[in-house]
């Protein structure tokens, strides 16, 4: 096995284990930490595919900023351990079959699409920061600006809600 393949399997295992741990941990902080593991493992996978800029942004934005806020809120609320409730009736009977079915569909989709999964050339074009910015600010400038506008609206909404609370 070559070194990149070994690193891929280690990172993929980390991501999957982190995701499982995120669900099964009882304490919110432990769940949040598991989510950070998932984020960092994904960043490693991006790095492996040569998308260095995306990997760094993944860690800075998701691993750093967003997850710090999660942890910050959990610490401020001083949230204790969750209590497990009984599963809902639907989840009890339909949950496992549905999960298996979904996994089967995804696996089948991946298995049947050889060309689509090997997205290496597409990734290679955005590995360079300059090319990435060209794509963002020239080729896809309208979708990009619209998305920023959406985020701005969300920020304003948050401020309005916080102000109403104060009044």
């Amino acid at each position: 096995m070559s070194a990149p393949l070994i690193i891929f399997f280690v990172l993929a295992a980390l991501a999957v284990l982190g995701a499982l741990s995120l669900i099964f941990q009882k304490h919110p902080i432990h769940s949040a930490l598991s989510l950070i593991v998932v984020m960092v493992a994904l960043a490693g996978l991006y790095l492996l595919m040569g998308a260095e800029f995306v990997a760094a942004v993944q860690i800075i934005v998701y691993g750093g900023a967003i997850m710090v806020l999660f942890i910050f809120v959990i610490m401020l609320l001083n949230a204790g351990e969750e209590e497990r409730t009984d599963f809902s009736k639907l989840a009890k009977f339909a949950g496992l079959p549905l999960a298996v079915a979904l996994t089967g569909v995804i696996a089948a989709a991946i298995a049947h699409s050889h060309e689509a999964v090997t997205g290496a050339p597409a990734v290679a074009t955005v590995s360079d920061t300059g090319k990435l910015s060209n794509m963002l600010f020239q080729d896809f400038v309208y979708p990009f600006e619209l998305t920023s506008f959406l985020i701005l609206v969300a920020i304003l909404g948050a401020i309005v809600l916080a102000q109403r609370e104060k009044n």
Binding site: I29, I36, V40, I59, G64, V68
Partner: protein
């Protein structure tokens, strides 16, 4: 047998050299950290008209060793009700992340003049073309060490300290990141060696080096000031050391940590200081570039000129030192320093090779001194002042700096 060994060495030479370099760098940085504490205590003591450590070894020079032993042998109690996993994870995370960030720092331009195991040995561990982004992503993650330590301790002072520090680090990370964007625009690269090479040149009729802080389309002096203030806050150092304000919070986030776990936080903090000083040197002060024109070959003797007199002074001071131990050790150290200075004169090749490294380390040392100086002279900010400074002053100024720099570059290139 020997053939297969040679084959193995050639095949895996890159890995072996990298691992040796990492071990060497960690060893050097830990030693420098230890003597940084000695340096800090001495300088702060002299600022406050005291002597500082002077009992353990001549001039207190063995104090770091004594501290290290004390950290190792102290009892290491774990308080009741802590979250065991996170409580042990936090110091490990803090130390590991702060050491990781050193991996991308370039200490010199040229590889060693000889090849080792058929490989060129450069003075950095890794040279990714997104070096700066990697540094920032490690900084972004290093909040966790402190925040989690505060939370896991199950005690109110650490929790307050942890909350304060996470709020502070999130706030100042923005200003820190924005203040270097100007440099990135001028250098057109995320790679740290490339950023340094972009500053190579002379300005003002060859009198001044064309470093980013004074040169370029738009001098980054404002960016530098924002960067350094934000960096002091980001590393939780005085006057922004509110997470561990001892008059309010006992010791902040590491109140419940003792022995070596406390030492790990300590080492992490000092390593972060070194990283930030290296970064300031690279981004704004030309990294390994000499401040003098290349034609002034006589400045190559500057390292010797500093080493020989200080070595002679240490010998002179040692001969009349109070204790016998000092009378033996100090002249020995002084002779070694003088000998290194003389050797640099005798071997011009070596002298030429260490010039960039000398300038890099000299600049880093100046920034470290600045850190200590700020700690010794400035009073701690109040919490609301800290937040106002970060959000209402540093962030707008650094954003304005980015806009001005971008405008000037755009105008120049048209």
């Amino acid at each position: 047998m020997i053939d297969s060994l040679l084959h193995f060495l050639n095949e895996y030479g890159f890995w072996i050299i990298t691992i040796v370099k990492i071990a060497l760098l960690v060893f050097i940085v830990l030693t420098v950290n230890a003597y940084l504490t000695w340096f800090e205590r001495k300088v702060v003591a002299h600022i406050q008209s005291r002597w500082g450590p002077h009992r353990v070894g001549p001039h207190g020079l063995l104090q770091p060793a004594a501290d290290g032993l004390k950290f190792l042998f102290k009892e290491d109690p774990t308080p009741n009700g802590v979250d065991k996993f996170v409580y042990y994870l936090a110091p490990l995370l803090a130390l590991a992340l702060s050491l990781t960030s050193l991996a991308v720092i370039p200490f010199g331009p040229d590889p060693l003049p000889f090849k080792v195991l058929g490989q060129e040995v450069y003075l950095w561990i890794a040279n990714p073309n997104i070096g700066l982004l990697i540094l920032f992503s490690v900084t972004a993650l290093s909040v966790y060490g402190i925040a989690l330590a505060g939370w896991a301790s199950n005690s109110k002072y650490p929790l307050m300290g942890g909350l304060r520090s996470s709020a502070q680090m999130i706030s100042y990370e923005l200003a820190l990141t924005m203040s270097v964007v100007g440099v990135l625009l001028m250098a057109n690269s995320f790679s740290l060696p490339e950023i340094i090479r972009a500053q190579d040149g002379r300005m003002a009729w060859g009198l001044l080096p064309a470093w980013n802080v004074i040169a370029g389309p738009f001098p980054q002096i404002i960016g530098f000031i924002c960067f350094f203030i934000a960096a002091i806050a980001e590393t939780n150092r005085a006057p922004f050391d509110l997470p561990e304000a001892e008059s309010e919070l006992v010791a902040g986030f590491h109140t419940e940590y003792a022995s070596f776990k406390f030492a790990m936080f300590f080492i992490a903090e000092y390593t972060a200081m070194i990283t930030v000083s290296c970064l300031a040197t690279i981004m704004f002060f030309g990294g390994w570039l000499s401040p003098f024109p290349a034609s002034w070959t006589f400045v190559h003797y500057l390292p010797s000129l500093l080493l020989i007199p200080s070595g002679l002074w240490v010998i002179y001071d040692g001969i009349k030192y109070e204790t016998i131990f000092g009378r033996i050790i100090l002249p020995g150290v002084g002779t070694a320093i003088t000998a290194i200075g003389l050797a640099l004169i005798l071997f011009p090749g070596v002298n030429l090779f260490i010039q960039p490294i000398f300038w890099f380390l000299a600049k880093v040392f100046l920034f470290l001194f600045f850190y200590v100086w700020a700690r010794g002279t400035l009073p701690r900010l109040r919490y609301d002042q800290l937040m106002n400074l970060g959000w209402k002053l540093l962030l707008p100024i650094s954003i304005a700096n980015v806009i001005f720099t971008a405008t000037v570059i755009l105008w120049r290139t048209r």
